[in-house]
Amino acid sequence: MTAPKVALAPTAARTGVWVGIAAITMMFAAYTSAMLVRQGDAPDWTSIHLPGILYFNTLVLILSSGAYVAGQRRLLAGWQAGGTVAPEGIRWLHLTLGLGLLFVAGQGVAWTQLAAQGVFLASNPASSFFYVLTGLHALHLLGGVCGMLYVFSRLRKSARGAVAPPAGAVDAMGLYWHFMGVLWIYLLGLMALRL
């Protein structure tokens, strides 16, 4: 039996994600420059103490990326061996999704901790940027969760033989998910240094 042809070449989906990454990078570059200008301009800048849980959340997001890589490898290996959707690949992707949701929940805990200290969105410029940056990152990550649910639906259809193996979608989704991790590490560094 010949192995089904699995498209590994760059796809429009991958290009689309790269373009999306460019747009998101530009957006956060705008926030970064706004923050630097605002900080340089203002006598009222009051630094905030970043909640420690953010570092735990960072670890969770890095692990989620690792889980995605593991899942993607198993899925591709399964397809290239001529099989169908590898169940262990799906399990790794489920783990990715779970860790992603855990990250967002952890961010929620960080917001709650700050709020308990009386630090809200409008308390001072540093807290405003903290909530804006973390909130919008979480929103983009939830976009990734939606993308992941779409990938699961394609995988289910593929397992039934209804569609071809969605290698392009899995690849593009992985690119986006890893970017979310890289973006978060950048934001954490920025906030640790400047807030």
Partner: protein, 585 residues
């Protein structure tokens, strides 16, 4: 690049009215929806400009019916200064965002780009549909500002902080009206980002076999370059709008400085930077000029050779010029801020690239003129609008030289000179590009020809009209006539009134001429002469399929491209070679 069916259709032919005409995934339907939205928007914007012009020309004369429509803004039909600013804000916002961005870029680009690259649809049809409907919602939210209790905002299309950020204390329309404005523009940004993403992915990945980048028509190049400009520009305006909304509704202080007293009230904000808004806005705002005009560069570069029956002069140079303009557009935003008290060294740093950007713009203009020079031009309406585009673009561009110099700009920036300049170079030039596109692609879109006689009358009257409107504004500006004032009735300004009255009459006349266009547009849609597949004897892929094209664009055929789009004036029985014809020997 695909070697097989370009962009194999990700969705089946639609069933039912809603899926076919409303929530369609077909790029052709979405392109038409964008053009229809732009038509509604331009008519709205034009009516607003008439109201402004009537008031400027005849400040004491009541406008019939307006007192009933806007009893607060125009008691007894006479527009108040505040309402004048509202009309100006809404006119600018509607025209820049919902006409000059949607029609030449999203409208024509959606309809034509996939066909020109030989694809069956856009790369992401669902995102494409979302792009239109998100934009539509943005338009509805903006229009809602007319119906809220304090009316539309008065802060101009640039919405300068801090007055746009502090709320109702700053004046009429700056409470809910301004919030609606910011939300509408944020929504619009999302729509255009989805559109840009589609344009870029489709151009890079869905080109059919043989369609190398250098074989793409100049119009597709222009839409591609515009989508890259838009991707960056709207990615900055969106965060700016989010921060503005937070200042307005969540009590943050991104743009509101300490100790600001407005309407005798100390504003409960501190430490924000009003200049930060200007930087973020103009980092988007100047590239926006090119988002409006570069698609017209492409349309003119695509349409002119078809009627000159000559290849475009220097197509690679034209592409390089468009890329250069796009890159430079991100280095010049500060020239809108010469009056903000910036360091003279910074002003010079923004002035130099502003002057440099005129070089690629001039080169591409010379290429158009060189293409027409010595040709046997077929004087169709589309060709006339291309020539008109070159004329108004040059007229508006020349006044740009003056404004690029900080010392001159300080005098001219707040005057009608700027109004004349940007209307010529951005608004009218882009509109002429849109008209050229409509007259050129209408037969492909609807399978019928527009009436050429009415079209030519439309062109000549419009061409004369726009010069009568905008050329005198340059003289008014030189004379120190300030802009944004609702009436010039004080003694020292009274001498400008006759010229304002002339401009008002010219504006009403030119607006009325557009009824000819509307009549031609709607009548031809149903009763125009049937169009052949290639009525203009043009070369690119959209002319290799039926008029209008079938659902999958090429009726199941897989187009293979052998030639560039520029093969006009060739020897033989036919003076052109289509892109799908066998390769030249």
């Amino acid at each position: 690049m695909q070697d097989t069916p370009a962009g194999a259709h990700a969705h089946a032919p639609p069933q039912g009215f809603l899926r076919t005409h409303v929530f369609s995934l077909d790029h052709k339907v979405i392109g038409k929806q964008y053009l229809d939205l732009a038509l509604v928007a331009v008519l709205t914007g034009m009516v607003l400009s008439w109201l402004m012009r009537l008031h400027l020309g005849f400040p004491a004369t009541p406008i019939p019916g307006l007192g009933k429509i806007a009893p607060t803004g125009a008691p007894a039909g006479v527009i108040t200064p505040e309402y004048y600013l509202s009309l100006m804000t809404m006119h600018g916002t509607i025209m820049v965002f919902f006409v000059l961005t949607t029609a030449p870029f999203a409208g024509f680009g959606n309809y034509v780009l996939p066909i020109q690259v030989g694809a069956e649809d856009m790369a992401f049809p669902r995102f494409n549909m979302m792009s239109f409907w998100v934009t539509f919602v943005g338009f509805v939210v903006l229009i809602c500002a007319f119906f809220v209790h304090d009316g539309p905002p008065i802060s101009g299309w640039t919405a300068y902080a801090p007055l746009s950020a502090v709320g109702g204390d700053a004046g009429p329309g700056l409470a809910l009206g301004q919030t609606l404005w910011a939300v509408a523009i944020a929504i619009f940004c999302v729509g255009q980002l989805l559109g840009s993403l589609n344009f870029i992915a489709t151009t890079l990945d869905l080109r059919t076999k043989g369609m190398s980048l250098m074989r793409m028509p100049l119009s597709t190049w222009a839409w591609f370059i515009t989508s890259v400009i838009g991707l960056i520009a709207f990615s900055v305006l969106l965060p700016a709008c989010i921060l503005l909304i937070l200042d307005r509704v969540a009590g943050t202080s991104f743009f509101i400085p300490s100790g600001l007293v407005v309407s005798d009230r100390l504003q409960p904000h501190a430490g924000g930077s009003p200049l930060l808004w200007q930087h973020l806005f103009w980092f988007f705002g100047h590239p926006e000029v090119y988002i409006a005009i570069v698609p017209s560069f492409g349309i003119v570069s695509h349409v002119l050779p078809a009627f000159a029956r000559k290849p475009l002069l220097g197509p690679k140079v034209a592409i390089a010029c468009m890329v250069a303009v796009a890159a430079l557009s991100y280095m010049v935003w500060g020239h809108h801020m010469f009056l903000s008290g910036m360091n003279p060294v910074s002003a010079t740093l923004f002035s130099v690239p502003t002057l440099i950007i005129t070089i690629p713009a001039t080169i591409v203009t010379l290429l158009w003129i060189g293409t027409v020079y010595g040709s046997k031009l077929r004087f169709t309406t589309a060709a006339l609008f291309c020539l008109g585009f070159v004329s108004v673009f040059v007229s508006g561009g020349i006044s740009g030289f003056f404004l690029a110099q900080p010392s001159l700009d300080i005098y001219l920036h707040g005057t009608y000179f700027v109004v004349g300049h940007f209307h010529f170079v951005m608004a009218v030039a882009a509109m002429f590009g849109i008209f050229a596109g409509v007259y050129f692609w209408f037969p492909k879109m609807y399978g019928r020809m527009m009436n050429e006689t009415i079209g030519k009358v439309h062109f000549f009257l419009t061409f004369i009209g726009v010069y009568c409107i905008f050329m005198p504004m340059h003289y008014l500006g030189f004379a120190g006539n300030v802009r944004r004032y609702s009436a010039f009735t004080d003694d020292y300004m009274k001498s400008s009134l006759p010229l304002h009255q002339f401009i008002t009459i010219a504006a009403l006349f030119t607006g009325a001429v557009q009824l000819l266009f509307l009549w031609n547009l709607f009548r031809s849609r149903f009763k125009g002469e049937p169009a052949s597949d290639n009525p203009w004897e043009a070369t690119s892929l959209e002319w290799s399929t039926s008029s209008p094209p079938p659902f999958d664009n090429f009726g199941g055929r897989h187009m293979v491209v052998h030639n560039g789009p520029n093969e006009y004036g060739t020897p033989g029985a036919r003076d052109y070679i289509m892109q799908t014809d066998p390769a030249k020997a």
